[in-house]
């Protein structure tokens, strides 16, 4: 128990500041990775999967149209995974998101296709319905005390049935064009003709600048507080890697149709939810509740209110995912969203969530969803059948969580 006082083999303290003769760069890198195995692990795994399929498909994976495709294909799972991560961090689970997504997609179809409502109020109404559905489930979980597994299992049946009632068993299409753009559209082109999509290049530039500025600020603050930072050479390499990754991604998208609309939505959600979970009081309370509910309550955290809010958020995100999926399909169908909840849960766990709650980040959920998405896409490209795909995805989930368990036991936390 006293290993905390002195740096030990398990937890090497980094050099107090960059530069100076110290351990070799490779050793420091290894130490940093080992200390944050979970954080880096999945990013590295994602990169490895990308490289693997890039080679295996003979370069088809990262072709511009396929990259756009991966983003759009996985958008709704990604949105769900972000919400699911918050639910799991709070120590709960939500099995109803697939059915709820189907239900809101169906309502969207009824409003726009049958009632000819303008797409914007229809979309807002759908999100409101999602919030109401989340509030309904949150009420039973937070204030009545029924386990979330049961409440959302009931919700899964309930919303699936409601979908079929609303659609009377039929598919409804087509949606108005602007609504379809939610899932299929790209940012409009502007400016003179270059070989690339101009607004996308601009966005890429802004993102690179923003990320680098954040890296620098973070490094300075850590150094100012005497925390361990990467040696300067390694840090520069990290910055270069970030720049390269974003640049390649941007150029790839820009050489096709540009940035998909749904990518902007997802980035906004990642930034917004990430900020709330990291910096807002309510986000902190979510982690505290998941980490130790009794202690959080005795510290004045309002368990009921926070849990309720978490499920309302999940409801809104499920509604958004449902609309995106309906827009992508260009139809509201009774079969929409089947097994979405399981994919979202798998993504959250691959992305580092802990079954007992209290651990996980929104960014991790995005990585987890991308791991699954790239696997799906890559395996389809090389012609692996969906039967084998299921087997492999199952094994990946088991391996990721198994690795997590092993890592925890190793470090003794």
């Amino acid at each position: 128990m006293t290993t905390a006082v002195q740096p030990s083999a398990d937890h090497p303290a980094g050099p107090p500041s960059g530069g100076g003769p110290g351990p070799s760069a490779a050793a420091v890198l290894l130490a940093a990775v080992r200390g944050n195995l979970r954080q880096y692990g999945m990013v590295i795994a994602l990169a490895a999967i990308v490289v693997l399929f890039q080679i295996w498909t003979g370069g088809a994976l990262l072709l511009p149209n396929n990259v756009s495709n991966i983003v759009q294909q996985n958008s709704y799972i990604l949105i769900l995974a972000m919400g699911m991560m918050i639910v799991i961090v709070a120590g709960h689970i939500d099995l109803s998101v697939g059915s709820l997504a189907a239900f809101t997609g169906a309502v969207a179809a009824v409003l726009m296709v049958q009632q000819h409502l303008h797409w914007l109020p229809a979309l807002l109404l759908c999100l409101l319905i999602g919030a109401a559905a989340g509030a309904w489930q949150g009420f039973w979980i937070a204030y009545v005390g029924i386990p979330s597994f049961i409440v959302t299992l009931a919700g899964m049946l309930l919303f699936r049935g409601a979908t079929q009632i609303v659609l009377a068993g039929q598919s409804l299409s087509p949606f108005p064009g602007p609504f379809q753009d939610l899932a299929q559209g790209f940012l409009p082109e502007a400016g003179p003709y270059t070989r690339y999509h101009n607004p996308s290049l601009l966005i890429g530039l802004v993102v690179v600048a923003g990320l680098l500025l954040r890296e620098r600020r973070d490094r300075r603050r850590r150094a100012a507080h005497g925390l361990e930072v990467l040696p300067r050479s390694l840090w520069l390499a990290k910055c270069a890697a970030i720049t390269a990754a974003v640049t390649v991604f941007t150029l790839t998208l820009a050489s096709y149709h540009g940035v998909p609309v749904v990518l902007l939505i997802m980035c906004a959600l990642l930034l917004g939810l990430g900020f709330v979970m990291r910096d807002a009081v309510v986000g902190r309370h979510v982690y505290a509740l998941g980490g130790n509910r009794a202690a959080a309550r005795l510290s004045g955290v309002r368990d009921g209110r926070v849990t309720f809010l978490v499920f309302v958020t999940m409801g809104v995100l499920a509604a958004l995912a449902g609309c995106v999926y309906a827009a992508r399909l260009n139809a509201g169908t009774p079969q929409a969203g089947i097994n979405f909840e399981l994919e979202a849960i798998a993504a959250a766990f691959i992305g580092g969530a802990s079954m007992s709650g209290g651990i996980g980040t929104v960014f991790g959920a995005v990585i987890g969803a991308l791991v699954l998405g790239v696997l799906n896409n890559g395996m389809s490209l090389v012609g692996i059948g969906t039967d084998h795909q299921q087997v492999i995805k199952g094994l990946v989930l088991l391996a990721a969580v198994g690795f997590d368990v092993w890592n925890k036991r190793r470090t003794g936390t």
Binding site: M1, T2, T3, A4, V5, P7, H11, A13, H225, G226, L227, D279, A280, V281, V282, R284, H285, Y287, A288, G291, N292, A294, A295, A296, R297, L298, S299, G300, V301, R302, S354, G358, I359, G412, T413
Partner: protein, 542 residues
């Protein structure tokens, strides 16, 4: 003490010699002796943490042979139990303090749990019921063996436990504080039963805090203190005689820890409102969260003034933690009456946020379950109760948060590499400081500290004592719950004692001694408000 022993001549049925048990370097038992004669009730008593339960776990096989040093002889043969079942085969059965019954199974199924009346894996239902009925008759419990255990009261469940032990042909019955959760009538019934079993030849080891109870039923008493055997006394000269050992003698053996621990010097609070009332609890009553008939805290009243450190002494089950948690936003049990004043004004604290907003803090005795998020970092643990003060418009000011955490790390001497280290990696003493720091940051006027130095090394203990002294010096009011009498005597200005949910005494420091406190802590308080199993009063809520 040997003068009494000469009277008894029966040979010992159980001999434990030189029992030493260590937990990761900490000695819990140090060469303990215990010798029990056939057909006697042998009481074992001692303060919290004296090693009673550990000794019984060694005896019953909970701690397997080899995990302790020393010898156990039972019935003339040496014992080397691999597990509890090995002990039970020899007739040594332990009934734990927390009942080990499965609530949803029937009485009969519980009695034969793990010991089923079965042939080739198929349970004989009628055989089970018949034998269960016979056992229930033996323990004097008139219940249908088919009724669910969950539907019985705690007193009856305790009898089912004993029936379960009898089903294993028990020869030595170990009861770990069997009456702690029982009301007077049920306790009386249980003790009579133990006496009857003794007459049938079942020896009994009875762990108890209640001296009155020991003097009433036990033949012999062994006192443990700090993991050592202090002495064995004959309670009465011959069976059935009036008790001859004076209570004083047992109390003196139980206490008597050395008082020469150093305590940090105190600076008196000299503010204008020094001595003004800070916390007053009046006739506070709490019922058990599940068993609503039971009053866990019964009409307790106490008060703490500004700048004062007031101790609350009591043995396990006295209701100290329950009182504190109930006052702190009704975090325990069912409120059944009583009032709280803070700073002289009556307040109603229905939730923890209300309690915190009124300047009350409760630092739990169980930091792992109720105190800390072990997964999270030091700085996010200390800020949790004070987040609203560290945030603007719902967004945490991370700089202010880190600064506050760093200041606490320095002022409390929390030894972590950084404030970003996970609390789960710290030592017990440092975790305790983090917990204390969390509540200091919340800026309370009144602090209830529940066993703030439990499981903490000597150095950290001194530092925590210093912090408590500084709090009082700055005019805070401190209610200190502790099981260590020297700590209470070394720190407190005034002391209360509790036993069985009631406040049994109030002493100024000058008149308090370990013996005086222990006498009040082991007293069986009168129950002036009639039979204990009263109906919930109309003031009962939720």
């Amino acid at each position: 003490m040997s003068g009494h022993e000469a009277v008894r001549t029966d040979p010992p049925v159980l001999e434990m010699r030189g029992i030493t048990k260590k937990f990761s370097g900490v000695t819990a038992l140090d060469g303990v002796r215990l010798s029990v004669r056939a057909g006697e009730i042998h009481a074992v008593c001692g303060e919290n943490g004296a090693g009673k339960s550990t000794l019984m776990k060694v005896l019953s096989g909970v701690y397997p042979y080899g995990s302790y040093a020393g010898e156990i002889h039972f019935d003339g043969a040496r014992c080397a139990f691999r597990d509890v079942r090995a002990g039970e085969r020899r007739g040594i059965v332990i009934v734990h303090q927390e009942l080990a019954l499965v609530p949803c199974l029937s009485v009969a199924e519980n009695i034969f749990l793990g010991n089923e009346r079965a042939r080739r894996g198929v349970i004989g239902r009628y055989e089970t019921l018949r034998q269960a009925s016979a056992l229930l008759a033996r323990v004097g419990l008139a219940e249908d063996p088919r009724s669910r255990v969950a539907d019985l009261g705690v007193g009856k469940q305790q009898l089912v436990e004993i029936a379960k032990a009898l089903a294993k042909d028990v020869r030595l019955l170990i009861l770990d504080e069997p009456t702690a959760a029982l009301n007077d009538a049920d306790s009386e019934h249980l003790l009579e039963l133990v006496g009857r079993l003794r007459d049938q030849g079942v020896a009994c080891v009875l762990i108890s805090h209640k001296l009155g109870e020991i003097r009433r039923v036990a033949d012999t008493v062994t006192v443990l203190r700090d993991g050592r055997t202090i002495g064995t006394f004959a309670v009465r000269d011959r069976p059935g005689a009036a008790p001859s050992v004076p209570e004083e003698r047992i109390i003196r053996a139980m206490v008597g820890r050395d008082l020469d621990h150093r305590f940090p010097p105190r600076t008196r609070y000299a503010g204008p409102d020094s001595g003004a009332p800070a916390l007053a609890v009046e006739r506070w009553t709490v019922r058990h969260p599940v068993d609503h008939r039971r009053k866990v805290v019964d009409g307790a009243s106490l008060h703490v003034r500004r700048g004062e450190i007031v101790g609350l002494a009591g043995l396990v089950g006295a209701g100290r933690t329950e009182l504190a948690m109930s006052v702190f936003g009704r975090s325990y049990g069912r409120y059944a009456g009583g009032a709280v004043r803070l700073g002289g004004r009556p307040v109603v604290l229905r939730t923890v946020p209300q309690a915190v907003a009124h300047g009350l803090a409760y630092v739990t005795e169980d930091r792992k379950t109720y105190g800390l998020n072990l997964l999270d970092t030091v700085h996010r643990n200390v800020s949790l109760a004070a987040l609203s003060g560290l945030a603007r418009r719902g967004v945490v000011d991370r700089h202010a948060e880190r600064r506050a955490a760093e200041e606490l790390r320095t002022s409390l001497g929390i030894r972590s590499r950084t404030v970003f280290e996970a609390v789960g990696r710290l030592s017990g003493g440092n975790q305790q400081k983090v917990l204390l720091g969390k509540w200091l940051l919340a800026g309370p006027e009144v602090l209830i500290l529940d066993e703030p130095t439990r499981g903490v090394d000597v150095g950290a203990k001194y530092e925590i004592h210093a912090v408590i002294g500084q709090l009082a010096a700055r005019g805070k009011a401190v209610l200190l719950i502790s099981s260590e009498l020297p700590e209470l005597l070394g720190l407190c200005d005034r002391l209360y004692t509790m036993a069985a949910g009631r406040v049994t005494g109030e002493l100024p420091r000058a008149r308090a001694s370990q013996e005086a406190l222990m006498r009040l802590m082991t007293a069986e308080p009168p129950r002036p408000d009639g039979p204990p199993a009263t109906r919930p009063s109309p003031t009962d809520e939720s």
